[in-house]
Subunit: 68 residues, 12 copies
């Protein structure tokens, strides 16, 4: 059997600047321990607020990578 | 009974620049009349278009704050 | 019958920089062939990853325009 | 900051006649206490039954209005 | 144990006139064989089209009734 | 291969009177340019409000037709 | 054909004490008339309130049983 | 009132071979006790695994039939 | 127009003991400032964890009350 | 601007044999009029029944292709 | 880059007593192998039934913990 | 505490032939590294297309296994 198989893990990235950077941070962190990442999917966007200002953008992503 | 209780309100922020700024504008506006905001959740992202260009990013957020 | 009628099409925009630009690119492309676009709705956000970095933000939008 | 901001509230209108009238009743009631309502979205349709007949159509709507 | 228990069945009503009548027809038909119906919930709205005209409105409802 | 194939398009019909008429208007308009329409599915119901009154019922429908 | 087949019915259990007891009551009632129940799935949790207190927890469950 | 009315029941078919056969088995079993079945809708696909192999494909279908 | 109209607000109750108590706490708190509450609906269940133990059950409920 | 842009269309394929063939038929038909198809997503699976047997498997797919 | 990153895993806890205890058991088990757990989210509630009684409450939770 | 606990992982299986084989391939691959797999749930079905033909069926499954 040689059909490719992928696994997906769920990671929450954060950023003080934007949703896009939060997603990028999640991927960068996952890449420290997982090889062959090929895509991500956003599943949730939220954030923390302090003194009436967004303090942290949070993006939950599913990260897909090919199993070897 | 001293278990904390939170309320959530739904606000639509807008921005001419990005989804992240639209969310931030929603939170800033809510903070004018509500105290103790601690988090937000994105529930919808859309926008207006004029002459083939995005004129306004719109982000609907649920904003959570602790009741006193 | 003069009640306005709109059509929605689904387009996937991409960007190397952000979700907001990916959405804008989708709308700009659609405007090349469709007139009277008045709004868009985000239905999915995902992206491609290469060597542990986000290479492409992808935003699927539904684009609404008035039928003449 | 001059980007417009909207708030959404959730109201359940009822009618003995139709879903459309139930939605209209929800909006009319909300307009007694809220200004600048500009749109509504249906989120649920249900109703009460008595002696095998629909006695009440119930439509839950989210009502959006611009904050001043 | 005397806590009331309800059962829900799913019925598709149809009408040549409106969604509201289609729902009413579903309830009326269910009441021929089920007693104690107390509420309904709309779960789907669709219809048939012939020669460019809606020929039949179809409303799927869940109908709840108390078990004796 | 002779298995029938259908296409679905998404149209937003409007009406000043009811959700049912808004859906009918969407189908009527689509039938001006598409042949063999056989069904529709409601995917969203909303509307515009002006001076505290519903000014326009809006129904988004998916319209299915057989490809020749 | 000997592959097992199951049917699912939808029942709303209630309890004055907890969601867990409401689910248990739904299953107990269903077992009076249905044999071979093997699992349940929670599909909704709600309840009635009177004078500011929860008077009744309501849990809608889908109950699965093997057909003989 | 002569508008047709349909009922939907939910059945889980199983198969050792495929999702398609599991759906077919569900319909065949339902047809033993229900007349006038005209359509089905897939609502869930899952299965059992034993010793690292799929032992049983399970497909939950809603089965619609006209009430007489 | 005398058809009853209801409003829904969203509240997050918490408890150190159970989901059921968390929901009850949300309702009790809401009843301090809102009259005529008649039902609630669970929309989310989550919680905080500290040192490997659930420290707080959190239940988000929509609370419905009749407008006078 | 050279970021690639994709469009998605929705097609219902049918087959007398299986869900997999129904999806394949949808893609084959779409390829008669659309170039550069690169992926599809299943959004619904249903079918017609006649005399207690599945007569037609129906699979609704979204088909994505790059705009030139 | 010092923005915190979290991972989420999905665990099914069981209990013979209640949904709340099932969730607690899931968290306790996860804490045997994962450090820094800070929250959980309920994604499914179901259970096994034997001889007409709930034998096991099952709660699927997503468990979030900070990556070091 | 002896209540059984399960973990779920998400895997994407692929096949050139069918959705059923793609799911089977996902389970077989997971079984290389995980013991005690007892069930799977389909969460997404999609695929790649090349030259107007489905080249690869992709099925995302959640795979559940008992923790020891």
């Amino acid at each position: 059997m040689s059909d490719p198989i992928f696994k997906k893990i769920e990671v929450v990235g954060t950023s003080t600047k934007s949703f896009s950077e939060a997603a990028a941070n999640a991927v960068t962190k996952a890449a420290e321990t997982v090889r062959n990442i090929s895509w991500f999917e956003v599943v949730e966007q939220r954030g923390n607020v302090m003194e009436g200002m967004i303090q942290q953008y949070q993006v939950t992503v599913q990260i897909g990578f090919r199993l070897e």
